[in-house]
Symmetry: C2
Subunit: 229 residues, 2 copies
Amino acid sequence: MDFSEKSNCSTCRIKSCAVEVLDQHELEILQTNCSGASYKRGERIFQQGTLISNIVYVKSGLIKIHKKGPSKDQILKLVNPPRFIGIPTILGDRVNQYSATAVVPTEVCFIVTQIFKTLISRNGKFGHEIINGLCQDELQFFDRSINQMQKQIHGRLADALLYFSNDIFCADAFIMPLTRAELGDFVHTTRESVTRTLTHFKNDGLITVEGKKITLQDKFRLQKISQIG
Amino acid sequence: MDFSEKSNCSTCRIKSCAVEVLDQHELEILQTNCSGASYKRGERIFQQGTLISNIVYVKSGLIKIHKKGPSKDQILKLVNPPRFIGIPTILGDRVNQYSATAVVPTEVCFIVTQIFKTLISRNGKFGHEIINGLCQDELQFFDRSINQMQKQIHGRLADALLYFSNDIFCADAFIMPLTRAELGDFVHTTRESVTRTLTHFKNDGLITVEGKKITLQDKFRLQKISQIG
DNA sequence: ATAAAAATGTGATTTGTGTCACAGAATATA
DNA sequence: TATATTCTGTGACACAAATCACATTTTTAT
């Protein structure tokens, strides 16, 4: 990873809704307690089980939030900017409950947790925006959980492909940033089943696959598959 | 359900951490915009898909938060007091994303959402406490999800039994408030598999079952089962 | 008290998908 | 350029758990 010097929050153009509501003085507080870093694919931003020092603000790139389970590592969610991560661990035992790893080149800012807490207590609107973010996360995670638990592989993988296409890349064709094994961790299967299902989709003319490049050819039918499960 | 008159928040003894930080004036605001109700087992408190009017504060009892999935209704979590529910839906489309139903006789207070929002913006500490609650929920739900997805039935059901014993009733013996089918919705199986697994546990001397009454006889081995999956 | 409805227990059968095992392709490292 | 890793594809097999089907018990309503 590569640490740069202190960033300038007031002129930073990648501002979250929450940061928008801070006044000039608060922005200065933030700025003096905040530093940037960039990560390459595969680099760990923070690791489950280690002590927390900072809130992380994702400026660009894509991050996977993952956690060790009883049998294997599992990708809880992907986070695309702009977004704060690590908020849930600012309280309690102060130990990260999950890991965060860059899946594409990623830029983040670290914010001292105490400062973050101060801003929340000082500026109710800031807190309000943070709550908004947390709530959105929760609802999204509810949906994802239910889908993961009730659909079978075809549906889950169709969901994932549509998610990458619609929410992450906003394009029908994209370079899949996850390996087959990671995709398995994301949709709860094995590497082998991902391959098999992808091949199946390909043979049915739903997608084309050229190595890492995936093109959705028939989104409508993919949606159908996602719905039936 | 049974609606009583306006409650008195300043003298209410079932106060959440969040409400504790409100000042006298804020408590009065809360009080004049808040009313109580009680529900019997099986009564719906709010329903997925309907418009939201209020934040719900659970004072006593036990509530299931459940949501329709592609194939069946699923219990996302159980909520025991004192706790706010419905916060995630105060924003956005203002439609409940999930249902809440009492599983034992339950008392709640309804708080006008606008007032709730005002309190958050007005009192940073209140917002801070609410964020704490949401974060705890998120971490807990992460754990639950991973366990649900990676363990098989024996482990999942052992988890559930230990959860009821340790977190809900604080006793080795308790009256199971969920039917076998609901228990299935909670741990992701069918009614039949719940029965079979329970019988299996009983034959192994881990528990005794007399209708709705369940007694954990060997918590240690149950924990073992929970761990292996 | 009696009927109707809901909840529960248990067997037989089917099936989705995880596991194992190996080969080829792609990528990183020396 | 060679060599070691890490990825990826594909088959054969096993098994956990869903589904179906029916009997029995418990609860609720009349």
